[in-house]
Amino acid sequence: MQLRYEVSGADLSLAGKASTEVKRALGRLGVNPGAIKRAAVSMYEAEMNMVIHGGGGIAIAELSPDRIVVTMEDTGPGIPDLELAMQEGYSTAPEWIRELGFGAGMGLPNIKRNADDLRIESVVGKGTKVTIIIDFNGFGGAQV
């Protein structure tokens, strides 16, 4: 089944809504707590990225009995150097975002740690599509 959410790019206080919703759905299904946590963390990080950098977008969660596939797509500026973006501590977030405790350059590495599969497609000037797969019996540590 599919769940679809619009992520607003304008309001930081609304960020995290989509991942909370997905968490709720996984709880209703009786998915194991470890997998729920991994899904929550990786989706929340991707959602924050979408709000901070991507100007909002669409989050789609595809649920099946053994896994969840989350696709987060924005029409933002895109990522010029993906390898650099994947490095821990590398950040292009503005100062005020950092003051709020975000933008420490841990977003994508953190997603990678928690997801069983992570795919990032990005075109500069067009947008970014992040696909996160959480296997309910997996352990995270996606290869990118």
Binding site: M1, L3, G16, S19, T20, K23, A25, G27, R28, L29, G30, V31, P33, G34, I36, K37, A40, V41, Y44, E45, L63, S64, P65, G101, N110
Partner: protein, 434 residues
């Protein structure tokens, strides 16, 4: 009492009018109105007492033990929660309040605040040793029984963050039984409680195989006889707890007592949920300890108290300032160490799951999404569910019918009416003039 489904929070059916106030305030969507009465779904209830607090008809209550329960024991020990001290004004000192308990039939008192100091020490050393082995937290306090159950029902992934140390109530009961009256079987230990959840955990403890508490008496049940006894009580030095333990009655008291840097404290179930949502999302990386209390302002806001929580807190803080001036009071409980660690794991509860089988649950969830989209989204509560979405899940589970939604029912009536008008236009073939 009722086997595993026992809950302290129950309904007085004679007083319930079937309004949906409690249904909407319940943090785990554990209440539905059926046949004009609120009905609690046992697997979801966390005994937080929100329904007791919000019911306009006083139909929700917490079952606790009557004072007459003392009669079963020769030695009857009262374990007053520090919250009790804030229920009476400054004329009545802690010594006098404790003396008053002895007038009511107790033969001894042991302050839970004293045990709270030991629990604070044990918590601090747990956090320190875990942090040494690279597990820096955040650790969640296990003192509030409703918070522990909230984790079990709604945030099972955070259960591994729970400090595995028993509550001050249990610690106090064990000190009394193992240290003060060892080997005796005629000792009855009674917690004097602001909290509905403590009644439940005294029968089905969290993290322990058995509770050492024999009964739980609500502060509000004991208030009038105690208040009447107080003026006649001789002042004797009965209170030994220091500010550090007594402060557990209100928010910040526990985290101050534990004393680890980078602690946060949160009270009120809605705010607690907000913190746990953020924690589950991986925020709060810099936090070492979370003091989370389900009631507003902490235990002084418990549903079994009498005094306004803000007044009670102000009184307790006045006591703390005084106690800080007279250092003799600060003495820790000198006794052989009692093992305060959990004996068993606190496990997740499956109350929010739609079906035990994931395939079935998924079909139901999908159906609930579709049904949900067809509902008005007003969360009016007329169907007896807290939200349209919860109602959609109930329909998908087969618990209720879609026409229990009055808007859906009206839609159906309209369709039926249109059909009737259409049928009325039809003529038998013999009369049809066209």
């Amino acid at each position: 009492m009722n086997g595993l489904s026992f809950h302290s929070v129950t309904l007085d059916p004679a007083k319930c009018k079937g309004c949906t106030t409690c249904v909407r305030f319940c943090p785990t969507e554990a209440i539905r109105v059926r046949k004009g009465r609120a009905f609690i779904i046992d697997e979801r209830c966390i005994d937080c007492g929100e329904c007791i607090r919000t019911c306009p008809n006083n139909a929700k209550k917490a079952v606790s033990d009557p004072l007459s329960a003392l009669e079963r024991y020769t030695i009857r020990v009262a374990l007053p929660a520090p919250t009790l001290y804030g229920q009476f004004d400054e004329r009545f000192s802690v010594d006098r309040i404790l003396g008053g308990l002895l007038e009511l039939g107790f033969t001894d008192v042991f302050e839970v605040a004293r045990a709270a100091e030991l629990v604070a020490d044990a918590t601090a050393s747990w956090i320190a040793s875990e942090s040494l082995s690279g597990n820096g937290g955040p650790w969640i306090s296990s003192a509030c029984p409703a918070v522990v159950k909230l984790l079990q029902v709604r945030f099972p992934s955070l259960l591994e963050r729970l400090v595995p140390i028993m509550s001050p109530m249990e610690a106090a009961a064990r000190i009394v039984k193992e240290r003060l009256y060892p080997g005796r079987t005629d000792v009855g230990v009674f917690f004097i409680s602001p909290c509905a959840g403590k009644v439940t955990v005294s029968r089905f403890p969290q993290g322990l195989t058995e509770s050492a508490v024999d009964g739980v008496i609500a502060i509000k049940d004991l208030y009038v006889p105690l208040r009447n006894a107080l003026p006649g009580v001789q002042e004797r030095p009965l209170g030994h707890a220091g500010a550090r333990g007594v402060a557990w009655a209100h928010i910040d008291g526990e985290s101050d007592a534990v004393g680890v840097p980078k602690a946060i404290s949160v009270s009120g179930i809605a705010d607690v949920i907000g913190v746990f949502e953020a924690l589950e999302n991986g925020k709060m990386k810099d936090v070492a300890f979370i003091e989370a209390l389900a009631c507003p302002v902490g235990c002084v806001g418990g549903p079994l108290t009498v005094e306004n929580p803000y007044i009670a807190r102000a009184r307790i803080r006045a006591f703390e300032r005084k106690a800080a001036e007279s250092p003799g009071r600060e003495a820790r409980f000198e006794g052989d160490a009692v093992d305060l660690g959990f004996e068993v794991l606190v496990a997740a509860r499956s109350g929010l799951r739609l079906a035990p089988d994931m395939f079935k649950a998924m079909i139901m969830l999908e159906e609930a999404e579709i049904i949900g989209e067809s509902l008005p989204g007003l969360d009016c509560g007329s169907c007896g569910a807290p939200t349209c979405r919860a109602f959609a899940e109930d329909v998908a589970k087969g618990d209720v019918l879609i026409t229990d939604c009055i808007f859906k029912l009206r839609e159906n009536v309209r369709k039926l009416a249109e059909e009737l008008i259409n049928m009325e236009r039809w003529q038998p073939p013999g009369l049809d003039k066209d």
